[in-house]
């Protein structure tokens, strides 16, 4: 386990183009499919798959949360690998730093016993198994049927400024609707949590 972590760290540090792709002017270049990056991709993908499986298999809620952290974190690393630095950092803030904490926090506040275990009825198990099988089949069909573009390239103008500009011009309506939705959720949560007078 430690060896794996070490290998991952070393690979991450050496895949320069992912880190510096949008950095100082002199280092901008297209994402190249170098050996190190390929190796790192497989490593991170493996970590993501293993931790996702851990989320499903583990029955302790807090351990599940930690596995979930592994999955979300490896997806964030994958974003960095694809030179989508902004998306990677936001993934860390929103999911790893926000959602996950709220999850564990909820468990702490609501649990009756120290170790909360999931008890899964057989019906639910079967139902979720069927849904997962259907989803897997759909994904396989899409993967085999789709036509893939040739070599990977950095999207031109995918900088933070471009993202902000498009959020406030082209996609302003969905952006605002999402904001209103979050506002409604917040007001609703505050109402539910309010003490009875």
């Amino acid at each position: 386990m430690r060896l794996l972590a070490l290998v991952g760290g070393v690979l991450l540090l050496y895949s320069r183009s992912a880190w510096a792709a949008e950095g100082a002017g002199a280092t901008t270049k297209a994402v190249s499919g170098g050996l190190l990056e390929t190796a790192l991709f497989y490593f991170v993908a493996f970590a993501a798959v293993v931790s996702s499986l851990g989320v499903c298999v583990s029955r302790d809620i807090v351990r599940m949360a930690v596995w979930l952290f592994g999955a979300l974190g490896s997806v964030a690393v994958m974003y960095f690998l694809l030179a989508a630095n902004f998306l990677g950092a936001i993934q860390l803030i929103v999911y790893a730093g926000g959602t996950l904490i709220l999850l564990v926090f909820g468990v702490m506040l609501t649990s009756k016993s120290p170790w909360v275990k999931f008890e899964c009825p057989k019906v639910e198990f079967l139902l979720s198994g069927v849904i997962c099988a259907i989803l897997l089949a759909c994904l396989c069909i899409v993967l085999t049927e789709a036509t893939w573009a040739g070599t990977p390239q950095t999207v031109p103008g995918a900088s933070v400024a471009a993202i902000g500009k498009s959020l406030l011009t082209q996609y302003v309506v969905p952006f605002e609707i999402a904001g209103v939705l979050l506002m409604i959720v917040m007001v609703g949560a505050a109402h539910l949590a309010r003490q009875e007078d």
């Binding site: 949008e22 100082a24 950092a89 803030i93 790893a96 904490i101 926090f105």
Partner: protein, 547 residues
Amino acid sequence: MTQLASNQFSVRSAEDGVCMRVFLWVLWMGYRVFGPILELLMAMFRPFAVAIYRIGGPLVARMAGIILIGAVVSVCLGVWAHALLFGFVDDSILARAASAGVTVAGPFDHFSPSTWGLTPSQIAAQLHVVGGVWDTVSGVARYLLWPVQFGIVRDLIGVGALIGLFNVIPVYTIWWERKVAGRIQSRLGPMRVGGWHGWAQSPADGIKLLLKEDLIPQGADAPLFRLAPYFNIIPSALAFVALPFGATYVFRELDVALVFILGVLGVEVVGVMIAGWSSNNKWSVYGAMREACQMVSYEIPMGMALLLPVLTVGTLNLTKIVEAQSGGWFHWLAFDSPFMFAGFIAYFVASLASCKRAPFDLPEAESELVAGFLTEYSGIRWSFFFFAEYAVMFVVCGLAAILFLGGWHSPLPASWGCSLGDAWYMRGVKGLFFSGPIWFVAKCVFLLYVQIWIRWTLPRIRIDQVLYGCVQVLLPLTMVLLLGTAVWVWASTSDCPTWATIQRISRYTLGGIGAFFVIGFPAIAVYGFYHRRSLVGNLVQDAMPGS
């Protein structure tokens, strides 16, 4: 008694026993073969070790202060030599480019000395072009610099420097905090270990913590208990990856450096929560819950306060934010508008909460929760949490210095700073003393000192006060500040002369207030020093410097 003993020893199965016996046999044979060699080596080196200790010990004890100062000066000189060499190469490239009528793009455009972007082969080539005595120098430099031209080697050097920094900062901040705490409480703090003002106290503590037993409570969730410190320490080390110390002294210049640092600092909370939960101890859980409450709520005003400079400069790239503040004291972003000035204070308060410093140190409140989430930890895992805490303190102060206090620029006017027109040696000197990592570190250290000062001055507040302060004071305040800054930035784009006057007046007023505080700080210190006789205790009076 016999029953108990047999119970204990019957746990191992027969197979285990065989494995154990084979293992012990191998160990024994290894000892028989290598033992004498080891003993011979030890017998040879023992006198050396004793001699080194006998000679070096008193020397270090007597001259520790000189050694510390010498180390700092030699680091500065090393940086200076680097700046000189690379500045010289910059100069020669620029001269050659000018004679050839070529505009040089790339690393030269916005700062100097700035040859980090060049490969040493290019540097050596440039040194070679100049000829004369530099031809010899270049010949030597070419061989010296040869290994550095590989990206991996540079990265290894960078990672080494970062890890070294990450180790040195907490160790000496802890020592310093204990000294400051002592002085604030009219005592001396660590005085004995190492000789000069207990300078070796923290390394000694570190060695002690390394050797202590690593206890894991029986009822704890062992894998999570073991994992939690890493969730804490790795993000805080990662933050240094994107934190610039100078225009060219940054490991990876990310275009989203600010968001990246915020993200990794947010991950740090996960470690504390898992530590609290997996300890299976009610004090730990209380500590973790408080931490979660505090962090989740204070991240919002902190992020909003950080948005103010981003709004003004228009980028998330920390290097560019600092470069926008060049030109001296009055150009620092903290004095840009009243909103920014208030935003700096709001950010500092929120950053205290985000690195669990007093008065927000509820997660580990010693007087209420034993040690909060740290209760069950011992040894090296315990020290991991402290490394992370002090490193995050530095990062948070670094962000404050970068975003509000001009980063690595000196408060001196722009004419004192570097410009491309200067000779290469002047650029080296100016790059070192007027806009360089030294200024950045000095500002960070000052802010760290303020954090320590606040910790030993203010009492801890209650959790409801913490949340009140966030939700009803800081959050509305930063929202108003964000709006005000937006209006200010929008108004700055107009060409109205009255507005320009208002802006100038506000800038100089705020700068004056800032200068008043910065000059008042040493003034109060001097006042305190001259009235030190009224302090409590003979010991303090006798050991105070100058008495």
